[in-house]
Subunit: 328 residues, 2 copies
Amino acid sequence: MTPSRKWLAALAALVIAVAPLAAEPLSSWNDGPAKQNIVTFVNAVTQKGGKDFVAESERIAVFDNDGTLWIEQPIYVQFAFMLDQLRAAAPKHPEWQSNPAFKALLAQDKKALAEIGQKPVLELLVTANSGMTVGEYDQSIRNWMKSARHPQLKRPYTELVFAPMQELLVYLRASGFKTFIVSGGSVEFMRPWAEQAYGIPPEQIIGSQQDVSFAMRDGKPVLTRAPKIAFVDDGPGKPVGIYRQLGRRPIAAFGNSDGDLQMLQVTAAGEGRRLALIVHHDDAEREYAYDRDSHIGKLDKAWDEAKARNWIVVSMKSDWKKVFAFQK
Amino acid sequence: MTPSRKWLAALAALVIAVAPLAAEPLSSWNDGPAKQNIVTFVNAVTQKGGKDFVAESERIAVFDNDGTLWIEQPIYVQFAFMLDQLRAAAPKHPEWQSNPAFKALLAQDKKALAEIGQKPVLELLVTANSGMTVGEYDQSIRNWMKSARHPQLKRPYTELVFAPMQELLVYLRASGFKTFIVSGGSVEFMRPWAEQAYGIPPEQIIGSQQDVSFAMRDGKPVLTRAPKIAFVDDGPGKPVGIYRQLGRRPIAAFGNSDGDLQMLQVTAAGEGRRLALIVHHDDAEREYAYDRDSHIGKLDKAWDEAKARNWIVVSMKSDWKKVFAFQK
């Protein structure tokens, strides 16, 4: 390293060290134990020479998406997308008329959907979009996200991300963390908009996977969607997805439902200081209120575990000044 | 943004802009068309306002590992590891005595191994290490890498990475690229040492995958290896692995054999300026010389494609001043 590079490196280090101090992190969070615990954790793992210091390369934070980073009621956003896709594809699939998952989806029968589970529903989706190239599928998601509106809040879904969680993502990255999404939803559904909404690039999104296959078509290589689910990234699948794609144990995990339990357990079980946090939807006025009895985003076992293990439970009602950026 | 943050951001931008100029990139590369083409490409995609400019987030470069970043003769390094693992596990598996892949491996019968293909060989390996936790497996790789030596060069394998390619990785990252490994080998085999050898962290390694499953053991969550291959990241599997994990089309790809053909094709077929490069092993004195007739790292179809499409073909003999860092 020449002297000039040394000087530049020192300068860069200074800039990086000073910049976060100038920011005002977590401004949509009320000063309560949740915010305090987050800040205490971040200070502990970033303090050089401190007993809880964690090297930057190991500062991995994983976030569930539905219900943790954005809205998931009255149905998962991807379900709303699927419904529109299925309606469009239904004329070509008369066999769907007798398919329980198809009927439950069209009727938006939450109870039946919860009983049927994620896999048969995902199977319908993969059939609906199989044969599309990955580029065509990506475009269909982009188009839908532009025109779709939430049935009650009448806003584009990308406005229904949680402002306090966006701030948390920014705060963690400013503190040297690398942030990942780990979602039960399909990875392709999140990639087109997650970078703008969360600052998380496509390669840092872990999700359920549909098979794709390579072929040459008119002398050009294409990837085409196949009617098969390759991986379901939910519940016990989440730590598996993290292992496959990330290859390190996170030191911080953020979820809101029983589907996040194993991801939180694996994160919390690592050596050294760890952060496990659950967002509790208790704000019927500004968003929704649901937990143990909900068909979507059921929070039951993970809540008990949070209490037993002293994980942070965020009350959307009392810990957040606002839920969405458009609220005052 | 407060004025002080603005000032810091401007300073950071300046530091980032100036720093690469101070480095001396690709010093182990002779001044020939290969080096010239690489530098011309990097200058084109990084020149702001230029017609070939590519935003930093899209500057994705993918590298094959075996034969592209490190040695792959006389057998893939992972095969050498597997042999030791299989020898250790053989007493517990009398059924292997009649398994063609096992026999070919122990005899190091390259011809038979090439005919058998990668899958039966990987299947043996996954059986040998199934039941191990992912932590135990990781440790077994670390231990082996410490003690193992190349049969001819008598050095640890981590010294047998190609110095010019290490420089290329550094040069690309200094130019705003994000660098990934995309290997037919298993992802876990590379993670323990790739960060030190290449500066590539675990989450930027794409490779073949073995199933792992989640379980609670004595109240603690563990991931255990299952005797099943989940994904083979070779040939047409490489663009699929890139799509699954990375979600963007790379703008630069580096390989050395027919197993890299589809990855190179997909990369080269993208819009805008692209770089596709093949390392040709033609240096029997400093490393090995092999191509169309080799059982390992066969370079045949990809070579024809490289010639037809004007991809860069690097001659290790004439383009590189040295192959390994320990050579003068």
